[in-house]
Symmetry: C2
Subunit: 394 residues, 2 copies
């Protein structure tokens, strides 16, 4: 069954593993235990909604990686990973949510059997799905091992995308264009927000032609009015109203790859301060895209954007972007570089970011963003083809 | 803004806090730090898609709880929590995904300011969203505190539902009936699985009358054929085929409350062994429901089901159910009691379980399940009104 469902060629997975092992060696690690579902999928192809139980990938310096998880899910691992069944290990169901047994005891047994009893082991200390308890049990059950924090070690290897990955993100971008167009088209006074979100889901999952829609790692964010001053509120059943701005933060998803985009719509006549902010934001985005060139740094994008806003008298702090690609809930960000003034990651061709120059003001929010690809020459390419402006419907 | 968006009355939140504090006192805790998003919402009403950053609720033995999280999300907390703005604390954005600063340093500062520097503090060691790193930073920054594992302490208080909660679950059940009916109606040879899932999402989010659909904590699981031998694979763009069983594991969701249900459909003429298994499963479910009475134990349900299967020559291991109610991704289970032979939780009126007597065989899967309410008298009530059988479409 190996390779039947895996999304990429064997040579693509080999490339990833070679790159990851170089990072492991640079960090002095013999083996890593990878819990981030995106990292698991990136290394092995594993794809299942099972990240609410303890599971992960064991990658040493030689041989194929091992997928380890609940027995029930090892069946799915055999369907989706590129490795053969010898590299898939399932633990018994009585480890699940037990107060007497912990799955990490089973993992520790495997690590000993694999010869890692006294190894230098990297774990993803600050990744969700690697709980404090999981770590405590592993440390206790491998007393001779040295366990190090390898948070984001694999994530950093994902920063520059392969041609195959970029083609997946471009497909996701086609779906993004469709869901944004659907949201803008259906939005109107009196339309219940949940009914609008239902249309967005339908458009995204049906996809475009043979580009079938996968589930995005974040549900549609579509807040209106005062709710749009907060970044991450989800919908309810209230109708949309005249005199309110609504932002749409949406992404198409193709085989777990994303291309997020935000646009804002105003129902009625926008206040002048919002139109002024729109102009400042659009100028800032253009300045940011122009700074998003190979050889520049992530901070250059942020500084170009924030500097432009400042000229218009708007003070903006915080992150304005992050790398994206393969992801699972609850986040489509890759959790490595940030587009912000204190981050000095050098931009290279093949990096893909969600450039997120949103404005959350006291009484309204204005989100206009782009998924951008750093190219060989020139400014970044915006991967979605959607008018960049505040949309207005009277 | 307090109480504007919160789902329940103040007296319902008071009831929950009184109950939780009794459990804290029994465990000898002065304060708990609650990271499980479901527990946060249950105590405070907080509702936002922000659980991918560090956040939580601080609950001491007196006073209102405190919601703590990213500044950007404190705006959403002010919109959704029942407490006033003095009880909402936001940390600066440069703590987010930083290698120099960790949000738990900010939390430790708050804990000291609140007088918990030397307190007995409970944390949810084995809950996702409480990472190994978060724990390590908290322990380091509160050297005089005693930090205990309070995993599931709040979850256990959620086990018996209030009347208000049951009414939310009944509303979710109306949506579940609709999504299951939609899936069964649209399934046919040649229908692309993602297009079927798009219809399911659309039906679930539009909801039923004024019962608007929220996002379920698990995406629709709809695997066919060999993929249905695995429990948690998601969809792709392949067409449904004659001669295959497909199971639907779906839930409606109303204001974060769930009522999961599974049904299986066979396109074509099912093999005799599947029909035999269906009979055994239906008998087993009836036996399980009859055993699901106040005063009995969770193991009695499992034993009744597994014993019936055994009579039919089918060997089944593992969990066959869990409590449900309020939840956020990645799981709609409450992570306390389990319906399994080794679990001896005494059943009480108001408990709600997803009774999950699924069969995953070597070449196919057969899922027929019920969301059940333990009642004052008699057998459990199945909350969804859906024919209980293997559906067949020729």
């Amino acid at each position: 069954m190996a390779q039947e469902h895996a999304a990429f060629s064997r040579s693509e997975y080999d490339r990833r593993i070679v790159k990851t092992r170089a990072a492991m060696q640079a960090a002095g690690l013999d083996v890593i235990f990878v819990t981030d579902p995106s990292n698991q999928a990136w290394l092995t192809g594993y794809d299942g909604w099972s990240f609410y139980v303890h599971q992960g990938v064991i990658l040493g310096l030689e041989g194929d990686p091992i997928w380890w998880g609940r027995y029930m899910d090892s069946v799915g691992a055999n369907r989706t990973c590129w490795m053969g069944p010898d590299q898939i290990h399932g633990y018994a169901d009585n480890f699940v949510q037990s107060t007497e047994r912990h799955p990490m005891q089973d993992l520790a047994g495997h690590m000993r059997a694999l010869g890692y009893e006294s190894a230098r082991i990297g774990v993803e200390m600050d990744n969700y799905y690697y709980s404090a308890k999981a770590h405590a049990v592993l440390v206790q059950d491998l007393p001779q091992a040295q366990i190090f924090d390898a948070t984001a070690l694999v994530n950093w290897q994902r920063l520059i995308k392969s041609e195959d990955e970029i083609s997946f993100i471009r497909k996701a971008a086609r779906i993004t264009e469709k869901v944004i167009a659907t949201a803008l088209d259906k939005a109107a006074p009196g339309v219940k927000k949940n009914e609008l979100v239902a249309e967005i889901f339908h458009a995204g999952i049906t996809g475009v032609d043979d580009i079938w829609g996968d589930y995005p790692a974040i549900v549609p964010l579509t807040p209106s009015g005062l709710d749009a001053t907060a970044a991450h509120l989800t919908w309810d059943g209230a109708p949309m109203r005249d005199g309110e701005a609504t932002f749409f933060e949406l992404s198409g998803c193709y085989r777990r790859y994303h291309a997020p985009l935000c646009r804002t719509i105003y129902l009625g006549t926008p206040p002048q301060e919002m139109l002024n902010a729109e102009q400042a934001q659009l100028e800032g985005i253009a300045a940011g895209l122009d700074a998003a060139r190979a050889g520049n740094r992530t901070c250059d994008i942020a500084d170009a954007f924030i500097g432009t806003l400042k000229k218009h008298g708007i003070h903006r702090e915080g992150r304005c972007g992050y790398p994206i690609g393969l992801s699972y809930p609850p986040d489509w960000g890759e959790r490595t570089a940030s587009i912000r003034s204190e981050d000095r990651t050098v931009l290279e061709p093949g990096m893909v970011f969600h450039f997120m120059p949103a404005l959350w003001m006291e009484n309204w929010g204005l989100e206009t963003t782009e998924t951008i690809l750093i190219t060989e020459n020139g400014a970044a390419e915006a991967l979605c083809n959607v008018d960049r402006k505040l949309f207005v419907k009277n």
